[in-house]
């Protein structure tokens, strides 16, 4: 194909052919010679002491090779690490062993493993392990857990408090005292189960002779896994290879390194055979991290004409029974700094309590902290509008950071790179015909037919493109957040691009190829983007936090430009011209003004790889590396609008329209960007209307399968109307801000605002997510009866 503009083109994805033919390689698809299958016995109790554990019958079953318990790990496998040690927060990190030895602390805590010829035998053997437990008192709710007299999970974490983290900017108390209007509200960010469609899986292959481990793993960040294996299983880092070929969705749940991974490695080392472990969905529900679960109290101060002046937030975050890998960073740094949103509020205080409970550990789930922040401020804006009888559009405009003010330091001390909030709002309002809708709504209210129409706005800003490594260090993140890239042009003109990010559905095998193609003039088909293999790629921090293209893509672009630079110098040599006179387009290098005498990138690549005729001092080969560490986060923004109809008789909410106007900076592949937005919005709608992980008082997850936990299906998600404004990121070369989390961060509050708008005539101000028909019905009943209205 001829190379035209690749940046901005909806190129069909390079990753799709293998995935639409069944030729993709997900971790469970790997079968190694002699491979055994591991099963994990999990605690059925949320809090109990193990008084007896007898594995004899399981060991005796034909086809069983070994049964291991927590005691077998001692001295061999160190506890699971927590790698976000938030500073100045009195942080307590409880010991999280891969299998419990004496006390189990959540339903799903691993107790024993079986290694057998196949998964069916392993399942049978798990049934034969005899365990007796002494039940201990259980606490699952973070507010209860903090109270005096609550069951204690650890002797060294009094009141179950894992940390108390504070943020202060300006004088929030003073601002609130001086405020003409003060509003208080509690929001419940319910617990969610990420439910990537591919369950987690590991195939561990220990090569005893070489002292080498190969781990096939469904992970978002293979290099982090390599590092963590090295420090917890005493294998030198250079003797570990982690491979993540196709990864079936992650949404944050495949960031952590899990007990199941550690145990598969341990079993492979003990038995000197490859060992595969793949969780079933039931295990996924209890033993893969959950998301959100925060109780957030807010107080907002404002003037009577709608100017927000002060904000205080207290967040009780349910961390679960242990601190998962990145967990402490989620309700703190990733939440608090962006709470002021698109608005000029400066006097702001936030307290976050991380609380240990007898539940599955929580950690990053799509958006991680930022959906909670956007929800909070966007709901408060609507509540303020309701209180002041103002239009929510007007309150937003009154408080927007003006386009002329960027770069702008927000109330959370973040330096917003660029933005134009009115512009995206204008476009969204135009698309939805806001005035027209308000008129139709007024008419419908007059007729009063048992169906309530409502409209909800969300003008959001997110902090993405994680992140400057310096910021990571300051926040206590035990890693860097830079990215390397290698661009290697082979003798035949084919190109290999290496990236330390690990896209798993986001399409960077295509978008990175587009970036390279654009600059290098090599067709996209000739460019392979390699990721997910620690032996091929030097280092990398992975795919999450909408960072892959903003950080990893920038590294790729810079490495590509270095290749172009070398190609130019080589072309000058081959054309016997001065390098300053060389120009290039579409992979053709020539002296400016004489385009007939040309060296193509393929000619140059061949010569560079043969090195028969190189300029003085130029090394052979056509390959460049770049290590990119961003100077700032990125700040995508936009305006989402949702229109709903609520059925008073059943409580059902139907989304009639959903409009998403996003500004994610420059766009490399619009088709992929739209897809990211659509999928993200679907997850936000899932939280708003359907999804809820519920524990009973004994700590059982009552919504522990896809039967009881609603992952939305095709009829539950509406058509999403997408549009974009484009405000480039000023501090990276691509201009890209990132889009992976946008839809999720923007959407839940648009839906809830719409339902609350629909029900406002009944005096209803707030309903906690998810807005199930039953909950909405109950709220309407109470309002009709003159009872509480959820405020």
């Amino acid at each position: 194909m001829s190379v035209t503009r690749m940046f901005g083109a909806s190129v069909k994805r390079r990753e799709d052919p293998r995935l639409i033919t069944g030729d993709g390689m997900f971790t469970d698809d790997f079968k190694l010679p002699g491979m055994l299958q591991m099963g994990v016995l999990r605690s059925p109790y949320a809090h109990a002491r193990i008084t007896r554990l007898d594995t004899a019958k399981a060991k005796a079953l034909a086809g069983v090779h070994a049964v291991f318990t927590g005691k077998d790990l001692e001295g061999k496998v160190a506890p699971m690490p927590c790698a976000w040690l938030v500073p100045d927060a009195d942080l307590k990190v409880p010991s999280y062993t891969a299998m419990a030895t004496d006390t189990v602390r959540f339903v799903g805590d691993a107790v024993a493993i079986v290694v057998a010829d196949d998964s069916y035998i392993a399942d049978d053997a798990l049934d034969l392990i005899e365990v007796e437990y002494d039940e201990l008192p259980v606490v699952t709710n973070q507010e209860e857990a903090l109270k005096p007299g609550a069951p204690q999970l650890y002797s060294d974490a009094p009141n179950n408090q894992a940390f108390h983290w504070k943020f202060r900017n300006g004088d929030a108390d003073g601002a609130l005292q001086r405020a003409e209007v003060r509003l208080k509200q509690r929001f419940i960010q319910q617990r969610l189960v990420p439910n990537a469609m591919e369950p987690r899986s590991s195939v561990a292959d220990w090569n005893a002779g070489a002292g080498e481990l190969t781990l096939y793993n469904t992970t978002q960040n293979p290099h982090i896994v390599r590092f963590l294996i090295s420090v917890t299983q005493n294998i030198p880092e250079h003797k570990i290879r982690v491979i993540a070929r196709d990864v079936g969705g992650g949404f944050g749940s495949k960031i952590p390194y899990y007990p199941g991974d550690a145990l598969a490695i341990f079993a492979s080392r003990m038995l000197k055979r490859p060992v595969r472990w793949t969780e079933d969905r039931r295990e996924n529900f209890v033993a893969t991290i959950h998301g959100r679960d925060q109780i957030i109290d807010v107080e907002l101060g404002a003037t009577r004409d709608g100017k927000m002046t002060g904000l205080k937030v207290t967040n009780l975050a349910n961390m679960g029974a242990y601190l998962s890998l990145a967990a402490p960073g989620v309700p703190t740094w990733l939440f608090a700094l962006i709470v002021p949103g698109c608005y000029t509020i400066q006097d702001y205080a936030c307290d976050v309590y991380g609380v240990l409970t007898n539940t599955t550990p929580t950690d990053a789930y799509r958006g991680a902290g930022r959906p909670e922040a956007a929800f909070l401020i966007e709901r408060m804006v609507d509540l303020l509008a309701g209180e002041l009888h103002m239009d929510p559009v007007d309150v937003r405009r009154k408080n927007f950071i003006p386009a002329s003010a960027f770069p702008y330091t927000n109330g959370g001390t973040l330096s917003y790179d660029s933005g134009d909030y009115d512009k995206s709002l204008d476009l969204a309002l135009k698309m939805v015909d806001y005035e027209g809708f308000r008129q139709r709504q007024a008419e419908a209210r007059q007729q009063g037919k048992g169906k309530h129409l409502g409209i909800g706005l969300s003008t959001y800003v997110e902090v993405c493109g994680l992140a400057p490594s310096k910021a990571a260090g300051a926040m206590g993140f035990q890693g860097g957040l830079w990215e390397p890239a290698t661009v290697r042009v082979l003798a035949t003109g084919k190109v290999i691009v290496l990236t330390g990010t690990n896209p798993h559905g986001q399409g960077e095998e295509t978008t990175f190829a587009q970036l390279v193609s654009e600059e290098l003039g090599v067709p996209v088909e000739d460019i392979d983007v390699v990721h997910g293999d620690t032996s091929a790629i030097s280092m990398g921090w992975g795919t999450y936090g909408s960072r892959t293209t903003a950080v990893g893509g920038t590294a790729v672009l810079k490495a590509t430009l270095k290749v172009v630079e070398k190609a130019k110098r080589l072309a000058a040599h081959l054309l016997e011209a001065n390098v300053e006179d060389i120009t290039h387009d579409h992979g053709r290098y020539y002296v400016a003004g004489s385009p007939t005498k040309v060296k193509t990138i393929q000619d140059i690549a061949l010569m560079a790889n043969l090195a028969w005729d190189m300029p003085e001092g130029m090394a052979p080969g056509l390959e460049e590396n770049h290590f990119h560490d961003p100077t700032n986060f990125t700040f995508p923004f936009g305006a989402h609008i949702c229109i709903v109809e609520v059925d008073e008789e059943t409580g059902e909410t139907k989304i009639l329209r959903y409009i998403a106007v996003d500004d994610v900076g420059r766009v490399i592949n619009p088709m992929i960007v739209d897809g990211q937005v659509q999928g993200g919005v679907a997850q936000g709608i899932g939280q708003a209307l359907y999804e809820h992980a519920i524990y009973d008082e004994r700590g059982n997850l009552t919504t522990g399968s896809m039967l009881d936990y609603t992952v939305p299906n095709a009829t539950q998600i509406p058509f999403i109307e997408t549009a974009r404004t484009e405000t480039p990121c000023p501090h990276n070369l691509t201009g890209v801000k990132g889009v992976g989390e946008t839809g999720t961060i923007a959407s839940s509050q648009a839906v809830v605002n719409a339902v609350c708008d629909a029900l406002a005539p009944l005096g209803i101000k707030n309903i906690d997510m998810p807005l199930t028909p039953e909950k909405v019905w109950r709220t309407i009943q109470a309002a009709r009866a003159g009872g509480t209205t959820g405020s």
Partner: protein, 290 residues
């Protein structure tokens, strides 16, 4: 998530099925589509030692009108019901019900006989069959017997089938000239059990309701017939007021328990709403047919 071991039998005739049942009276289960049974076995909530698959037994997939009744073989797949023009035109309530059983993929393999014989109060056909006054045909070495759907449904997961009996057919009386049926369901999500569902059938004599059938799904230990509501409707025109009162009576007949799908009063309210809506729809269909 793997079933325990069992032996699998696939007899080629009813007598062979009976033989197998006779040999394993305590630990055999009949397998039709298996779309309820196999998940139970995967959870190891059901551990039969023998599974007797009906798929090779002949003449189990009749779908035709015969002698004044719709005859449904026990092995008729839900998808076949859903796609049958006969069902769509003449038995819209059955069509409605078959179209909301689980999801389209499950419906391709699930059977109407399995749906009834499993006797889960959350299954959709029992309530619709109550509304339609269906009869169930069971066969055993002792012969063939017909029983009303009311008698067939005994309790949660319990039918009147004897250990040696196999459900072979369901007979639904052909609809009267001016009649209509409907089945409406509210669920949290596809594939979940209903919060509640309501099946109704109305027959008219002129403008007046001459017969009413109302069955309720998942608001009691088994599918419930809303008798008082049925009786109330007969002899009346389906005015707004009449429909409202019948719906209220149906809600009274419901005997739900609180669970993740909602508290008792919500489920009752949903029965009321769905009954009213189903009655209106059935009346409309009766008019359209007339």
């Amino acid at each position: 998530m793997i079933p325990d071991n069992f032996s699998y039998l696939a007899p080629a005739s009813l007598p062979e099925v009976w033989d197998a049942l006779h040999e394993h009276p305590d630990d055999a289960k009949i397998l039709a589509g298996g779309q309820s049974l196999i998940p139970l076995m995967k959870f190891r909530l059901a551990n039969p030692a023998y599974l007797i698959d009906l798929r090779h037994v002949p003449d189990m997939d009749t779908l035709a009108e015969r002698d004044g009744a719709l005859v449904l073989g026990a092995m008729v797949r839900e998808a076949a019901l859903e796609r049958s023009p006969l069902i769509q035109q003449r038995y819209p309530g059955i069509h409605d019900a078959s179209a909301v059983v689980a999801d389209p993929l499950v419906r391709n393999w699930a059977t109407v006989g399995g749906n009834l014989a499993h006797a889960d109060p959350a299954n959709d056909h029992p309530a619709m069959m109550l509304a339609l006054g269906a009869r169930v045909v069971a066969q055993s070495p002792r012969g063939r017997r017909e029983l009303s759907i009311d008698d067939f449904l005994v309790d949660t997961m319990e039918t009147a089938l004897q250990p040696d009996e196999v459900l072979v057919e369901i007979h639904v009386p052909q609809p009267a000239a001016r009649s209509g049926s409907a089945y409406l369901k509210l669920e949290r999500k596809v594939g979940d059990y209903a919060i509640a569902a309501v099946g109704v059938q109305l027959a008219f004599d002129g403008e007046v309701i001459s017969h009413a059938g109302i069955g309720l799904t998942n608001v009691g230990p088994k599918a419930i017939r809303a008798q008082q509501a049925e009786a109330f409707l007969v002899g009346k025109q389906p005015s707004d007021e009449t429909v409202r009162e019948a719906a209220r009576l149906a809600a009274q007949a419901a005997d739900p328990t609180a669970d993740l799908r909602g508290p008792v009063e919500y489920k009752r309210a949903i029965v009321r709403t769905l009954t009213a809506r189903a009655l209106r729809l059935a009346a409309q269909r009766a008019t359209a047919l007339a």
